[in-house]
């Protein structure tokens, strides 16, 4: 029952969207469908008239032959005209325009959702499905398919009507011959779903094996370890198992379908037999007989198509429901308070966990950062450093506890105003496949055209050379620009961070392996940048901490130590152990 209401609800939404985006095209396509639905019946009827005229002509005189020919021709002209207009409107408007709007709404929505959504796997799945819905043009398809129903229904009914007008018995017989299809479809449908579910995971396994074996890294390893045949054997085995199952299922399904076909043939046979009998009784003409012979087949095909489409409709609507649900998700809220200076940030007993996670990512965190301080946050992977950084950037909301900035709850701050004071250099920086100017200037779009300022930032990050003089040169090979090395991308990310002249800056150290010279350069650049700012550096290089004012040591989501390098070395705690351990190989 729940499915039914959402079926209707979503159907209504689809129609609402199409008709509001292209009302003209939508209406025309509906009108056209009515006309096209009547067409087979019209052709049947005019065929009967035409053949009857010819019969009359052979036994006597007829003056109307040309008229009926013209009639039939007229019918075809109208149809061809209709088809062309329809395809124009449908393709251009219903598909292109509507899917364009659908896509736009999807991406606008994505950027307005709370940042935490990225960590929620259910939400991400939903988004993926909504995206598929757009990529596969499902919304337009449903509009067109349900309109096709109209065609099918109208044409089936009108055809049967014409037939029945010649003899009422045709009515039940035509209908009876298609009932078997309905039955088989229902029965088969359920079984098919069950088997499909079981097979999906095996299929993945098989496809995974196939894909892996064709990859460069795998091939390299397998050749060195001489393990090719083992992996090939695995694929073979899974493939044979999966195939066996599908084969059995398909064989059974085919027998059922053949049985169904048999029943339909029976219905066809009876109808034809009846037609012959009628014509022998002289109750119908030869024309009617011929038209009937062709019409029966037509009706059967139409009903078959109708049932197939009906069968796949719930599945398609289910896909579309993901799209509409996604659009209906709650967006992030914003506060009203604005200020141009951040004096201090205070965390009080802040706790935070990720959605669907059991463990707390941050547990009872309390500390203060004052303007002008340079703080390092250190800890092992998984200790909560990056999570803390995201909370400081107003991307996540604590579950308990409160973050106050300038004495006011961070939740009440206006996002844009808060961000005006903050800049960031991320661990996983973004290599923008845009121009040099945009790569640096995107942190402060209103000032992106100030060339001297951009060049100064590039110079400070030691990005020199002809490549960086041409500011409108595109970077990155994805859109056919100039590709940079990893180290260069990293430096541009830093240039971006400093281009925005904010008082506060958050730096997250890259963990990827850079060679020692580049790494040292980058770390020095970090230190350089933070000179006249309030800085929070997230790092695992304890060695860097010696240059910071204050160090927060994190472990398992808690802050276990807080102080400067001297103090922490005197305490016999985790910090000291980490410093000694990391540095042990580097001492003389």
């Amino acid at each position: 029952m729940v499915m039914k209401t959402s079926l209707w609800g979503n159907l209504k939404k689809v129609y609402a969207m199409v008709l509001s985006t292209s009302p003209g095209a939508g209406t025309i396509s509906l009108i056209y469908h009515w006309i096209e639905g009547m067409f087979p019946a019209f052709i049947t009827w005019s065929t009967i008239q035409l053949i009857d005229e010819v019969e009359k002509m052979m036994t006597g005189v007829s003056h109307h032959l040309w008229f009926w020919c013209a009639c039939m021709l007229g019918g075809y002209i109208v149809k061809e005209l209709g088809v062309n207009l329809y395809s124009l409107f449908v393709n251009a408007s219903v598909y292109e325009k509507v899917m364009n709007v659908a896509r736009l709404r999807l991406y606008e929505k994505s950027a307005r959702l709370p940042y935490i959504t990225f960590e929620d796997s259910q939400m991400m799945d939903k988004r993926q499905r909504a995206r598929e819905c757009v990529d596969r043009e499902k919304i337009s398809q449903i509009f067109v398919n349900t309109s096709q129903f109209l065609i099918n229904i109208i044409s089936i009914l009108s055809m049967i009507g014409i037939l029945a007008s010649y003899n009422i018995l045709f009515l039940p017989i035509s209908l009876a011959s298609v009932v078997p299809y309905l039955i088989v479809r229902l029965v088969r449908g359920k079984e098919f779903d069950q088997i499909r579910k079981k097979q999906v995971s095996r299929e993945w396994n098989k496809e995974y094996m196939w894909k892996t074996l064709s990859e460069k890294e795998t091939q390299r390893e397998l050749r060195v370890y001489h393990a090719q045949s083992y992996m090939q054997g695995k694929w073979q085995k899974i493939m044979e198992e999966v195939q066996e199952e599908i084969q059995t299922y398909q064989r059974r399904e085919t027998w059922q379908l053949l049985g169904c076909d048999g029943l339909n043939l029976l219905g066809y046979g009876i109808s034809m037999g009846m037609a012959v009998w009628l014509i022998l009784q002289g109750e119908i003409s030869a024309g009617t007989f011929s038209a009937c012979a062709m019409a029966f087949l037509n009706v059967q095909n139409q009903v078959k198509n109708f049932l197939t489409d009906l069968g796949s409709l719930p599945g398609d609507i289910y896909v579309v429901s993901d799209y509409f649900d996604y659009l209906a998700l709650p967006e992030e809220t914003d506060g009203m308070y604005e200020s141009s200076k951040l004096g201090e940030i205070c965390l009080e007993k802040v706790c935070f966990s990720y959605p669907q996670a059991e463990k707390r990512a941050l547990d009872d965190i309390s500390f203060q950062i004052r303007r002008g301080e340079k703080i390092a946050i250190v800890g092992e992977n998984g200790s909560g450093k990056t999570t803390l950084a995201k909370l400081l950037l107003k991307l996540y909301t604590p579950q308990t506890g409160v973050i106050t900035v300038n004495g006011r709850d961070l939740e009440t701050w206006n996002r844009e105003s808060y961000y005006r004071n903050f800049s960031v250099v991320q661990q996983q920086f973004v290599p923008y496949q845009l121009s040099v100017r945009e790569n640096v200037g995107i942190s402060d779009v209103p000032h992106m055209d100030e060339n001297p300022r951009i060049q100064a930032c590039l110079a400070q990050c030691e990005l020199e050379g002809p490549l960086f003089c041409e500011l409108d040169q595109r970077l990155g090979k994805r859109l056919d620009g100039q590709e940079l090395s990893y180290g260069q991308w990293q430096k541009i990310a830093i240039a971006r961070g400093i281009f925005k002249n904010s008082e506060w800056i958050l730096l997250d150290e890259p963990t990827s392996a850079l060679d020692p010279m580049t790494e040292a350069e980058i770390l020095y650049q970090f230190l350089d940048i933070v000179q006249d700012k309030t800085a929070i550096i997230v790092t695992h290089r304890i060695g860097l901490c010696t240059r910071m004012d204050r160090i927060l040591v994190m472990q398992n989501g808690r802050i276990i130590q807080d102080g400067n390098h001297q103090t922490l070395m005197e305490q016999e705690g985790a910090y000291r152990t980490m410093f000694l351990k990391q540095g042990e190989w580097y001492r003389k």
Binding site: L50, I51, E55, M58, W66, C69, M72, L73, N84, S87, N100, R103, Y107, S110, Y115, W204, N205, W210, L213, S214, E217, T218, R220, L222, V224, Y225, H226, Y230, M239, Q243, Q247, Q250, T254, L258, G273, V276, S290, E380, K390, L395, Q426, V430, I442, S443, V445, R478, R496, T511, S512, A513, P516, M517, T546, F579, Q582, G583, W585, Y586, R587, K588
Partner: protein, 595 residues
Amino acid sequence: MFSYILTGMRVLWKHARSIWIARVLSAMLAALMAPLSLYLLQLAVDEIIRDQGRSAWLWILLICIILCQMVSVFSGTLAGYWNGCLKRRLERNWGRELLEGFGKIHYAAYEDAHVQDILSKMRKTPWRGLASLGDTVIQIGTVVVMLIGDMLLFAQVSWVLSVLLAVFMLCAGFFQMRSMKVMNDMFANRTADEREMEYYEELLSEKQSVLELKVFSALDYIRTLWHKSNERVLQSRVHTTFSALKYNIYSSVVIVIWILLLLWGLADRAGAGTITLGEFTALVGSIGTLLGALERASYLCSVIARRSLLMRYYEEFQALPRSEEEPDDRLDAVGDDGMMVEFQHVSFHYPGSEKEILKDCSFRIRKGEKVALVGENGAGKSTIVKLLCGLYAPVCGEVLLAGKRADSYTPEERRQILSVVFQDFGRYQMQLRENVAIGNLSQLQNDAAIRRVLTAVDPDFESWKLDQNLGKLERDGVDLSGGEWQKVAIARALVSNSQIILLDEPTASLDPMAESEMYHTFVTVLQQQSCLMISHRLASARMTDRIMLIQDGRIAEEGTHDQLLARQGAYAAMWEAQSQWYQEEVHGDENIIMG
């Protein structure tokens, strides 16, 4: 294009012969049924007119019509079944051929970007594409058969009508095909604007970029860029749709003219009495089915070019160079038996590239010696690994393992001498046991040996079940962290009990703490083997017997850590850069450090 279709047919013939023949025959038979039914109808109508249907002949004709329908319907259902069988048979036979191909292609091909393209097409379950191509060919064939049948039908009335039929159908079909092709091309090709648009969409929906764009308040900027691209894309697509329409209109005009001429011709003959009622009926009845078939055929012709592309990739795949099975047993270069590894004046550049990665590079590693190889990114460290593994042969010079040329070993022999932990080692979504035993498949069932190497790398593995599935593929699969995978990869190299171990950046995915622990592990675990450790974390160099620094394609500096520091060369500079962060306190608070 035709040659690709032929290749496809050849593959179908080779790997799925019986099913393919069944499909073709039944399809052709079914195709004949439509014109045949019309012919029978024609006879029936004439019979009715002539005899008032007293004879049994009418009933016989009726039964024949029903039989025709039966053949057609059953054939359709069976076609679906056979298609499934065809795909499976292709997967089984052709898939095996392709897999073997993957294994035999020269490794150099894998690193070539163009080949990557070919491989990615082959990777996407190609049998589905081939079955679809075969299906398309068959369906086009059925339309041709049907057309010929109808032409015969027309010919009994007048050969003029018959020829007209063929001419007009081909003409209309041609236009319809052009129209569909225009639309298909639009869908298949991505213009630069569309790629840009996709990129902006990604920026607006990926975690990392949204973070930056939010903090920089730059979301609107990207949105504006998206809108601009979008406008252009939409315009060009609507434009294409209109130009497709033009062809549709031509086709419609041709069809209408044909119907006009046909009806005129028929009416004329009816008036003159040169045509029977049955013939009239059959010909008029054929219009509907012909138009339907025409549309179908045009669609198929418009997609066949795209579907046959797969075969082009297959042809290129077959043309890729394969490596020879037999090891080269020419006279081996003379090498010192006491040396496990020797590079003698090796020069190397990748095939297709002019840049020399190694220039007259020479070094040796003794039995049981542990050597570190350091250098900047791109200096040639990974290339040396590939040469030692026999994946490439040196352009000049010799690469020797245990006195013999590296590429003169059979794969099995080489595995016993050398094992490698690659930087991008495989994380196989299989059991823990399998992940480790890939290094030495003879130990696959030897629980004790597998556990021994695992616990040697990390005692925590003691509690792990060896049959535990790793990775998210199976429902009970466990995802390992980067560090844990790294340890499994090291265990993989250890289980092979080889004489030489190569470690290529073994601590890349570990944080500094875990990295430090890993170095301790190496010291204990690598007792008798020779070891070549490649890293640019110079800490790794401290635990080796000797360090080599590679620069400009050759070994520029060589010696122990202290010797190299004394030289004050490139190594010393790198060392300074990395170690300076930890030296600060030594001067200030010596007593604390010593504590």
